[in-house]
Amino acid sequence: MSAPLFDPTATPVGREVKIAPRPVRLDGLRIGLVENTKFNSATLLLRLADRLGRRHGMTVAQMARKRSPSHEVDDAAIAALRRQCDFVVSGIGD
């Protein structure tokens, strides 16, 4: 009889995530920004938004600030982003 292996791993618990519909055009969209408090996070995101504004006439509708890079975006901020924005850009990494 051979000894069985014991699987020490666990897979993440299943959670249904629906992907939001992709915008069919870029012009005039409302941008949501989520900055994570790292150095230059807000600078980079605002510069990106500025470029999108000049190219596609987009505007920043909502800018959320995370409590820290370690924490998730809080529920109130997510609700506001959902209400006011067509898409969200989040960042940044190291």
Binding site: A3, T9, A10, P12, R15, F39
Partner: protein, 337 residues
């Protein structure tokens, strides 16, 4: 597969180890591990919501066997996993950061003596089974259950050797003050584990200091160097007093609060220094030469623990990971009758 070496290789092949050989589990060993903490296999020890991760006792027990734990270590492992899942620890950052934190486990109370956790000579080093395997079990749970695998959800640039295991007991016998877990609000007769994330360890040497003040100036300097991870917000830090330094503090009569307050006041850098080193943005202005950036907000953010051998003029400073985004968590260890 009955060949022990072949079994060990099978665990390697599946990516279920930390790079060291593991102890292949058996039904009996896993059951005994669970019994060691008085837990059912389906008991939930905690969740990491951002990872959709639920940590169930039987997986923790399997990883504890793999790590080489004895069943009587399991209450410490379980308490450490609960601390990992505590919201104050904010698991995502210290587990995933490029900073590569070690999960430092400080064990207090009767269980430390009962299971033979080392608090003395070479407390951070090799040679003691509970020290080596309890921390290893926690890291294996992070890898196997919480998906913190190097290069994937563990993005450490360098990591550090403490990521294999970093577990020690406090030396409560030679302490100048109440034990650490009592300072954290628990009863002296309780057992507890404190989980603390740190990505570096500086050994601090001072053979001449006969009073706390010169010694603490060395700690303050070590905790405010220009390469420190966090200079923007306030930090937590762990100071581990060893041997002769412990005696210097005890004989001085300084309280824990005095010790902490001195470090709050003296752990600082000039803004000009931080700007010249590009740790803060912007050009140096005249006011920056006399403007100070303090690293600690309040005394209790400096955690002081005693450990190590009685001889030697060494202590250690371990800066915390993150600007108090991640806080040390102290968890009572369940008592098994």
């Amino acid at each position: 597969m009955d060949d022990p070496a072949g079994l060990i290789e099978a665990y390697f092949e599946r990516g279920w180890t930390d790079g060291l050989p593991v102890v292949p589990p058996t039904e009996k060993a896993v059951a005994e591990m669970l019994a060691g903490a008085g837990m059912r296999g389906d008991e939930i020890l905690g969740e990491i919501p951002g990872r959709n991760t639920v940590v169930v006792a039987d997986k923790v027990a399997i990883n504890a066997v793999l790590a080489g734990c004895r069943p009587e270590y399991m209450p410490v492992v379980a308490a450490a996993i609960r601390a990992l899942c505590h919201p104050d620890f904010a698991y995502h950052g210290p587990a995933s950061s490029t900073g590569g934190s070690a999960m430092v486990l400080i064990v207090n109370g009767p269980i430390a003596r009962r299971i033979g956790l080392n608090s003395g000579n070479n407390a951070f080093g090799q040679g003691w089974r509970p020290n080596a395997t309890i921390g290893r079990a926690v890291r294996l749970v992070m890898m196997n259950v919480m998906q913190a695998r190097p290069g994937l959800l563990d993005r450490a640039a360098l990591g550090n050797p403490g990521k294999y295991s970093f577990c020690f007991a406090e030396n409560e016998d030679d302490h100048p003050w109440e034990p650490f877990h009592v300072a954290r609000g628990l009863h002296v007769d309780q057992s507890a584990v404190t989980l603390y994330a740190s990505n570096s360890l500086y050994q601090v040497y001072n053979q001449l200091a006969a009073e706390p003040e010169p010694l603490l100036r060395c700690f303050a300097d070590a905790l405010s160097n220009l390469g420190l991870p966090n200079v923007k917000g306030f930090n937590q830090a762990l100071v581990v007093l060893a041997g002769e330094h412990t005696e210097v503090v005890r004989q001085s009569g300084w309280s824990r609060r005095q010790f902490q307050s001195f470090l709050v006041e003296h752990t600082r850098r000039r803004v000009a220094d931080l700007k010249r080193a590009a740790r803060l943005p912007g050009d140096v202005t005249s006011g920056d030469e006399s403007s100070w950036r303090y690293l600690f907000e309040k005394p209790e953010d400096i955690l002081i623990v005693c450990a190590g051998g009685r001889a030697g003029s060494w202590s250690a400073c371990l800066p915390g990971w993150g600007n108090k985004w991640t806080k040390a968590v102290t968890t009572a260890i369940g008592v098994i009758q």
